[in-house]
Symmetry: C2
Subunit: 398 residues, 2 copies
């Protein structure tokens, strides 16, 4: 009984891959600082829990396949507040941003079709294309450019008859890059010229620091029929465990097609939607506080990392990730070694080896992705651990 | 921008297809009895809601991809109580039974591989194979046989190199058939002889009436590595809106492969799992009451339908569905006509045309699937509406 090629070619998550090593470290009595995962420690707005507690139904019924009306209404208000007009028929509530992504890929790609994705990219993008039998065609971005997009010509070199879409994440997981208006307009032009969809994963929309303004492809009127928006409440409201996302488009044909996929899984959990519908009422002060906190964390982590000898890093401007280059051969071995062999003040460190975020063989081997979802004191400690571990690791390798 | 073949070939749900007609009837002021959908009206055990209300975390975090430990533990206890031994590594919590089903299909089927499914079948089985690029190979069952399985020879006629699995639902949605021990043993033999998986959708396990004992392929020791179990709390505890299911197998290789798929969607909602973990404590009296109620409903509906002239029906022994043959040409037209043109005591009827449950062209055209998830008084009224509507419809057709 052989398993399918698609599942054999899929990889285990690079973010969760080292979990057994972290557990072993904890079992030895060590504290493990988790810089591997984008699980915010920020409090979820309390009205989410209150709404669920106030539910007074006796029967937990199926929801609508498109989503609960109260939640769709609250998404409409949210988008209106950022200048985007949607109606119910433009949107389908999904099980996290993930489901919106694979629904979109299933709806537009035949087997062997290609989707161009700037690499390094969120690994599950290629998990979803593996499932759908289509392919990610990576276009490499580089740390020294702050992981910004390559030129239009580089894109045109790899666009073919098989290309169906360009898929971007901005602010980016895993790089923290925020694409400029000019970059987004370049992509828009490409999509128009080559008749492509533009899938825009905007789940980190609010997490933009310093100067750059977030610019969405949704703001470009004449490609509105090409843009598929992927969104989620997970990061915005620190509600990852609710698994509430959204796929939306001005193109009703694509939303109608995705509706068939949505009907096949019946619906998203009813109570989570009722909770999520209240989140639109979250006051601006919550976001201001959260943004201030993440920005301070980014600064502390960036300054700390920059001061470590021979480590390459550019200041990221969004989300809560950075990819850094280490002065070692193989980051995965190093990450395992830290968890197994190294501690400082009875504490060790879990990082995500960045190789898993690249599709091109051989790239990212000496890189790690760090998330800054832990508090500032712990981030400072993490920098110290990394710095001293690098010195010790070099000694052990000599 | 063309959409994918897979999504073009998918159909909208036959169960939800007539919803706009039902809404129009409601807008005219009519009551609509919903015999189309398997949404139980039974109360969800209250400890589910209590557990969610008692959650005192401040951050709604991701759960584990395999599922919350408390929920996995409660599933272990549940299976132990019915004589089946599972460990955590045998199970993955899924977004409803649906996700377990498509995870299983994605994990075992390459494009163009086939899965044999007795028809009529739950439509989404073929939605999932459409997505995965594999195929349902239907094997027809008939109302006059109570929708029991055809002979072993009939199966062998359609088993080929492309066949990867046999997929069954027993007690069956949409037919209400419960396969006998002999039928299950015949399938087990086939799977051994032809090296196939046996996917067993047992979400209606508790809903068995009259004599027949439910028999699961899990009870056959020497095919334990071939059986993939699909389960869900939706019907058992009347908690459809929780979207908590389970995929389980003694074959750890298949569960490990499905784990990659589970990681790609991160996790199932955390709070729903915490609620679901309490359901194992539901007292036996709950099930006794529920079963008594459904059995009484089945009897009322069956007796009522049997008494209608020229309607074909055999008494189903499980789940809460029956498929009946009507003395008309096209059941979908009739179902629309009732909603648009007919009422009795200011009430009309929504049924699911059964054609959508068949894959073989031309079958089920005069059939409807009825669910008995509404109370007995309404079921009696539904029978009256159907009987009088058939008479009137015939007049309009003459």
């Amino acid at each position: 009984m052989k398993l399918s090629n698609r599942v054999n070619s899929m990889k285990y998550s690079p973010i969760r891959k080292l979990s057994p090593y972290a557990q072993a470290a904890r079992d030895k009595g060590l504290r493990v600082l988790g810089l591997n995962i984008g699980q915010p420690d920020i409090e979820t707005p309390p009205q989410f829990f209150e709404a669920m507690k106030n539910f007074d139904g006796k029967v937990l019924k199926y929801s609508e396949s498109r989503g609960e009306t109260v939640l769709l209404d609250s998404f409409i208000k949210y988008y209106k507040s950022i200048g985007i007009e949607f109606e119910h028929s433009n949107m389908i509530v999904t099980n996290g941003g993930s489901e919106g992504l694979y629904f979109s890929l299933y709806a537009i790609c035949n087997p062997d079709d290609e989707v161009i994705v700037p690499e390094p990219f969120y690994t599950n993008y290629s998990s979803f294309t593996d499932i759908a039998g289509c392919k990610v065609r990576p276009i490499t971005t580089y740390g020294e450019d702050g992981f910004h997009l390559p030129s239009r010509e580089k894109f045109e070199e790899i666009i073919s008859d098989k290309t169906k879409a360009i898929l971007i994440s901005s602010p980016s997981n895993p790089t923290g890059a925020v694409y400029t208006r000019e970059e987004i307009e370049m992509l828009a032009d490409l999509c128009k010229e080559h008749n492509l969809f533009l899938i825009s994963d905007e789940v980190y929309r609010e997490f933009v620091y310093d100067d750059p303004e977030f610019f969405s492809p949704l703001e470009i009127e004449d490609i509105s029929q090409r843009v598929i928006l992927i969104d989620s409440i997970s990061k915005r409201y620190s509600a990852c465990g609710a698994r509430i996302g959204l796929v939306a488009s001005k193109n009703k044909e694509i939303i109608d097609a995705i509706m068939k996929l949505a009907q096949s899984r019946l619906c998203v959990p009813t109570l989570e939607q009722i909770g999520a519908a209240t989140l639109y009422e979250t006051p601006q002060s919550y976001f201001d506080e959260v943004k201030k906190e993440y920005q301070a964390r980014r600064d502390v982590l960036f300054e700390g990392i920059s001061a470590i000898k021979d480590v390459q890093v550019k200041k990221p401007t969004g989300a809560f990730y950075m990819i850094i280059g280490l002065p070692i051969k193989n980051a995965e071995n190093f990450c395992k070694w830290i968890l197994e062999e190294y501690s400082y003040e009875n504490t060790t460190l879990m990082m995500a080896p960045a190789e898993g975020f690249y599709l091109t063989e051989g790239l990212g081997v000496n890189e790690v992705r760090l998330s800054y979802c832990i508090n500032i004191e712990d981030l400072k400690l993490a920098v110290k651990i990394l710095e001293s571990a690098l010195i010790r690791y070099k000694e052990t390798q000599e």
